[in-house]
Symmetry: C2
Subunit: 419 residues, 2 copies
């Protein structure tokens, strides 16, 4: 059964769909007798079904033509599923160890069939709130970012391949517009979607809207986001887009993927680790003061950047005679110059990372979408206090990002915001 | 007669083609009796025919699948005609007073029918070599650049329109690659296409290839060229792409058009004016020392930037509540902030302009394509001397561009290179 036009699936039609789709039914050995189906979409945008049979399992993700959590009043193209599938396949090809495999894609139905990340996989954000250490997190995330960003940039691609891919992902414009609105615009103006812990943060939210220098810097970041096609970024790489176990790290949900600035991804991840760090004070109790865990988050933040730097430049060195057309070996032909080039490139990327990371933090405190790290702090005055410290740090990181020379200086700044 | 596949036209088949094309034959009143046809393509890439009848005229430009001046050994997609026609129509719609009208476009034949720029129109470069003053040149070129660049940027376009257009012009990748090669790569490495006035400039050409700091800065410009989709640029806006009379200024040949950094266009024009200025010493003779003319070129260079700045910011002010999504009025909501934003934007654009302008100068001295301004200086030692001074100035402008605060400082630097 091929559906000739889009319709949202329910549990019943889902089974019919699977029966008619060999690439899916084969995953469960064609056995429909004791199939377990569970709708688990706790995100904002889609339906997600887990299908588990006796001999296999998979996940079905279907995009709806609006933002699920807000409803039909906020329409959103279901074509985003096409770009999500494309990015999963592209990034999965480059880094299969940290991207779930795509089994099936149906553009008409905006439907992706993919690997089910079986228990004990949980959303990283929930693990961070629970205080669970993931010893390989920095290693894995730096590996994922280094590979996906390096191999889709002009450091590896020819101009021809790069422009073709840029053109294709320009089609994901509606999701780019959503990012522009919720990250770079709404938090800096009055918007009906904004919210914050009121009345505690009323004055803080107002201060964001009245900060000329902050708005000047945010404009520069927005301009890079809109105009600079540096690499195929995930586009929404916060700690809710990562599933983890002790030894597995899987990046999901790249429906915002497009060719944009690399720092947007690295910043999203690091910015959300910083939020997780600051929120720990709200999760501390008599049984666990979270001090050791906070040290682990800081170490993971620092390691993520340092390992990314190391892996990314190692890929660059390994492929400097490859197809990439940014720095031709015949021009960049001596070790001193190669060192200068890399230092300049990585310095700009570091400052982009801090800027975008800070912008992601700010929007989680005074914009439409908040994070469970803070939302789960029951005592509202404690929550507001954590949020204010995160907001103040983010403003500093964003405005002074060019003054930071290394990630260890950033870690020091984070330590200084302790209550 | 519609040709179902591409074939290069000669004078005979050209007439058949015109007869079968109402939008062209109507331009000459359907009268083929005393038609004058002249092939005038003195450029590097195409055939150009002028068709003049008793009651009208037009030009036919046909792209061939290779670079004409080098021959079939350097293939080049004839699809460039599509992007040229698209850019002519787009820029013509925005600034009809300085862009010739397109009457007809045939994608299969890679053929554009357009307004014939009748005598006394000549190529601006030739006018500059001849020492002719064009009193409206700065006014007209600043108008053209302000309008075409402003209205195709995110200062005026919505993200949706911008990304759609960016995607389309990604198709012009072969021409972008050619630019990358001849401007940002070949001059900085050994290449069989490079040439210079030898042996005079042998050491100078070598110095360019050995200058680490220069190559570091060129890499930054190349990265902007490849990654930053700021506006629909002409892509080849030197003084050979402008036709002039005393009171008319017409920009032609946008076959390199794509979404790139605005400074690439402004720099191309200003860089070539500077070349024209320095070449004057080679054209001076007992009858005319060219001193007054050199003053006029400097004044025109200075006016071009200042008028561009004035017109561009005026368009910005006039449309700040328009569809452009870069700086939403609800965020950039006070005069002080608006001033900060514009100053920051225009400062970066100024430095881009100097950088790209300098890169364009360098490639005309040690790269594949030279300029008639220098080539027409018969005494080779004088030519070499002019070229060396231009090269040294360009290296300074490129490496120190961020130290220049105003165009008048640039003019001072140009004056200092007098022999």
């Amino acid at each position: 059964m091929a559906f000739s036009e889009f319709r949202p699936l329910d549990e019943k039609s889902l089974i019919e769909y699977i029966k008619a789709t060999p690439s899916l039914s084969s995953k469960i050995g064609g056995n429909f007798d004791d199939l377990k189906i569970k709708e688990v979409g706790d995100g904002n945008l889609n339906f997600v079904y887990i299908i588990v049979g006796t001999s296999g399992s998979f996940v079905i993700k279907q995009a709806l033509p609006y933002i699920r959590c807000i409803g039909e009043s906020w329409p959103m193209t279901k074509e985003r599923a096409y770009f999500e599938a494309l990015a999963l396949k592209e990034h999965g090809g480059l880094c299969p160890e940290h991207v779930p495999e795509v089994y099936h894609f149906d553009r008409t139905m905006s439907l992706i069939g993919m690997r089910y990340l079986e228990p004990p996989h949980i959303i990283l954000r929930k693990g961070l709130i629970a205080g669970i250490e993931y010893p390989f997190l920095a290693e894995h995330m730096s590996e994922y970012m280094a590979k996906t960003l390096f191999f889709t940039s002009l450091l590896y691609l020819s101009t021809t391949e790069h422009k073709r891919a840029v053109a294709e992902f320009c089609g994901n414009v509606e999701l780019c517009r959503l990012t522009e609105q919720v990250i770079f615009s709404d938090p800096y103006k009055v918007s009906k979607y904004n919210r914050w812990t009121s009345p505690y943060l009323d004055r803080d939210a107002e201060a964001v809207r009245e900060d000329n220098i902050l708005k000047l810097e945010v404009a520069e970041l927005k301009s890079k986001f809109c105009e600079r096609a540096q690499a195929l970024v995930h586009g929404d790489l916060h700690t809710g887009s990562v599933m983890v176990t002790c030894d597995s790290t899987q990046v999901i949900d790249p429906e915002f993927a497009f060719y944009g600035p690399m720092g947007f991804d690295i910043g999203a991840f690091i910015g959300n680790l910083i939020l997780a760090f600051i929120a720990q004070d709200g999760h501390a109790d008599q049984g666990n003061d979270r001090k050791i865990y906070k040290e682990w988050i800081l170490k993971t933040t620092e390691d993520t950047w340092n390992l990314f730097h190391q892996k990314f430049t190692a890929l660059w060195d390994a492929h400097k005679d490859g197809p990439g057309e940014a720095y031709l070996p015949a021009i960049y032909n001596n070790p001193e110059l190669q060192k200068l080039i890399q230092e300049k490139y990585m310095k700009e990327l570091f400052h982009d990372t801090l800027g975008f990371g800070a912008a992601k933090m700010i929007r989680r405190i005074v914009g439409v979408a908040h994070v469970e790290d803070f939302e789960s702090i029951k005592e509202v005055s404690i929550r507001a206090d954590c949020e204010r410290r995160a907001l103040d740090l983010a403003k500093t990181l964003l405005k002074k990002r060019r003054e930071f020379v290394s990630i260890s200086e950033v870690i020091s700044a984070i330590k200084h915001v302790q209550s």
